[in-house]
Structure formats: C-alpha cells, structure tokens
Symmetry: C2
Subunit: 229 residues, 2 copies
C-alpha cells in the first residue's frame, strides 16, 4: 500500500525531510486503518515502527489490573507516536487505541531507525518531538501528584477551550469528543468522579454541559479552580 507523497506534506515530520527522503518514505510507508476502539498496539509488545496520524485520534494509555486506565497522551492528526522503543531497544511502554475511525501511516521499525541514522535532520526533529513529549509527561506527573480532581478537570476544559473553543452567545463552547470514561482516564480518576465534578461545576454556573458539548459560562471561575486545593 504505497502512500501518495502529497499526503505526507502536511505531516510536519515529513515536511521537514529532503525531497529524496520524503519520496523514499512515501514508498516504504504502510497505511493502516482502524475503527473507533480498535487496538493499535499493546504495552509490552515489540514496537512495529513509527506511527503517524493521518486522520482520527489515538489514545496512548496505561491500564491497571483492575481495568482502570490512565491516558498519557491523545495523539492528533499530523503527530507521531511509538518512537521511544525504536531508540531505547525495549518494548512498547503503553497501549495505543483509536478513539475515532483512524488512518495511520507506519514506518517500519528498521526503516525508521535507518532514517534517523542516515538523516541528521530527521534525528534532530525527533529530538524536538521527544523533548516536547517529556515536558508533557512531566506536567502530567505534576497534575496527578499535586492537584485535585477538580483542578485537573478544569485544566482540561480550559486547554481544550483555548485550542478548539468556539465563541458563543453565553460563553465558549468546547467539544471534547470524549466519553466520560475517556475523560476520566485522561485526568486519572474514576468515571463517576468526573460525572460529579462536571455536575458540580454546572450547579455553580461555571459550565453548561449538554452531552459532549460543554459551554464555559464563567472562564474566570473555571481558571481559579485550577489552583484549588
């Protein structure tokens, strides 16, 4: 399954490659499709390669024996994941699952390693990507350890509002496009606790939740919750 070159241009990692490398990549990439909920890989398995999200979203997460999940990161289109096992030689550190119907481009393990070893610019790009990822995980650790559930939920809402919020009559409308189960896994708590937290915010007039769409009525108060407790 060869991948059209022009489809690679909008993925930053490929955009940055030399034209020669880019067309070589296009020739060796594989396209994979998943339906929502489809498993991409499991923790502990050897990593098949470097994954790029063409469309859809991918949830990278850990699972406890009890079944509780903790999301590490949700990968959006144009981003890549699955790189760390290629360089530290170990297996997948977490699970990956499609949140939406998703199309991924996969660069085989051997091809990806060879590319990083052959192309200095590609290696530097990966270094940048990994740096950002480290920062993200560090801040996740901070939130989990040092902030209460309310603060964590508030932060997710505000982050999404800033990135994707639609200004509206009564406030900013955010569409998380996550079930409460996934939202709970994202903030590291149980589903019921998220329900209660959202209800609470609604009762206080801070947000108005209708299904997956949430309208932020009082941005100030929501922001102040981030530092609560």
């Amino acid at each position: 399954m060869p991948v059209p070159i022009h489809d690679l241009a909008d993925i930053p990692f490929f955009a940055q490659l030399s034209p020669a490398e880019r067309s070589h990549a296009a020739a060796v990439l594989h396209e994979h499709r998943y339906q929502a909920g489809g498993v991409i890989f499991l923790e502990g398995e050897p990593c098949p390669g470097l994954f790029f999200v063409k469309s859809g979203r991918v949830k990278i997460y850990k699972v406890a024996p009890s079944g509780r999940e903790q999301v590490l990161c949700i990968m959006h289109p144009r981003t890549c994941f699955g790189g760390c096992p290629l360089f530290d030689g170990a297996n997948n550190p977490a699970m990956a699952e499609a949140l939406d119907p998703t199309i991924l481009y996969v660069l085989d393990r051997a091809e990806a390693v060879a590319l990083a070893e052959r192309d200095h610019a590609a290696a530097l790009t990966l270094l940048k990507i990994f740096s950002g990822r480290l920062r993200l995980l560090a801040s996740l650790v901070e939130r989990l350890s040092l902030r209460c559930v309310t603060a964590r939920v508030a932060e997710v809402l505000l982050t999404y509002a800033d990135e994707r919020g639609l200004p509206q009559a009564h406030g900013i409308e955010v569409c998380l496009d996550l079930s409460q189960h996934d939202l709970a896994a994202l903030v590291g708590t149980a589903r019921e606790v998220v329900t209660r937290t959202l209800r609470d915010m609604e009762r206080k007039g801070i947000i108005h939740a209708r299904g997956r769409r949430i309208v932020i009525l009082d941005r100030e108060r929501l922001a102040s919750l981030i530092s609560s407790l």
Copy 2:
C-alpha cells in the same frame, strides 16, 4: 575552569564522542560545585545548558504552591539532565537540586545545541537518552495514577535493592540515602504517610528499618505488595 579529558571518559555521553569532539567538549565545559540542598536551577527559568553529573546526586522535581514536592527523577553520576529545553525552545520544566555535595559539568546551551547539530552520533545518543527518560516518566505516571502508596513504596525499595542492595545475614540491605521527606516526594505522598507505611512493613516483618538503612527480610512479601490494591 577547564575539565580534564580523562574525567570525561567515564561519562557515557562523552565516551561515545569522537576524540576530536571530546577534547573540544573538555575545553568548553564548566565545572560547578554544589553543597547538599543547593539549588541548580528553577522551574520556568531558561535552561543554561546540558548538565552532567560527575559526582553526587541531583533531584529533579516539581513543587506545588502548598510546598509539596514530586520528584520526577534522581540523577546519578555519569548521567545527564537539562536537555529538553535545548530542543523544544521552552524553559526548565522542573527544579533541580543537589541531594549530596555534587560536582556537575555544564555544556553551555549554545555549545550543546551546536554539538547536536554538528555531530550526528551525539544527536542519536541524546535520542536514546530521551527515549529512556520518556519510558521512565510514563511508568511514573502509571504508578501515581494506578497504584496505592504502599505499592509505590514497595517498588522503590525493591528497585534500589536490585540496583544497590547488599546481601546480608537476614536479607538484603538497602541504603536509600534519602530522608523520609525526599522518599515521600519520590513516591508522591506526604512524609507522614511514608513513615506509617515503613512502620507497617516493619510490624509485618517484611523489612527492618534502622535509620536510612533498610534490610529487606521478606523479598517475596514485599514484591507482592507492589500489586496491592
């Protein structure tokens, strides 16, 4: 303050450089000394460069407004830290503080970036290092989110036992060389909780704690605590 070249040979990052790059590094490195408790850098500051631990240990951590700390990582001799801001362009994601009297070698920000851009092997080495760091943080997130305090303490004890434990008459002796305050920050809880957890394990005959030295009496039972709750 030039650094003797032979002092660099035992730091993996430098060992892997070409002799020319290594001697250039030696010429531009700065040596910094800190006493125990000395602040190396603060979260949010611009990062001055890439740090290498010659001797001593460095605690990388986040602080809450309340003063509670969460350790991300304790850096031992021969390891490096402070790299991520060099490549993602942002500021320090966390604090760094010496746990012991510590000697660091510092490669200026500009020198470090230039080295990674000039020397492909150095970039790949950093990629390996960052990969390991990502895995470490991911597992920290997992522990914080999905495991109880007892399990987290048990895991730290066993990890140290495997890395540094001295076989002894009644079990394996571990010297954490951490105050309970730092141990609490390492597992992400309050000091009192760590005290109680250790006392509990002692009462059950799993460990015997005398000051900072802990003897693991029943490895099996300690290991089984890791999956508790």
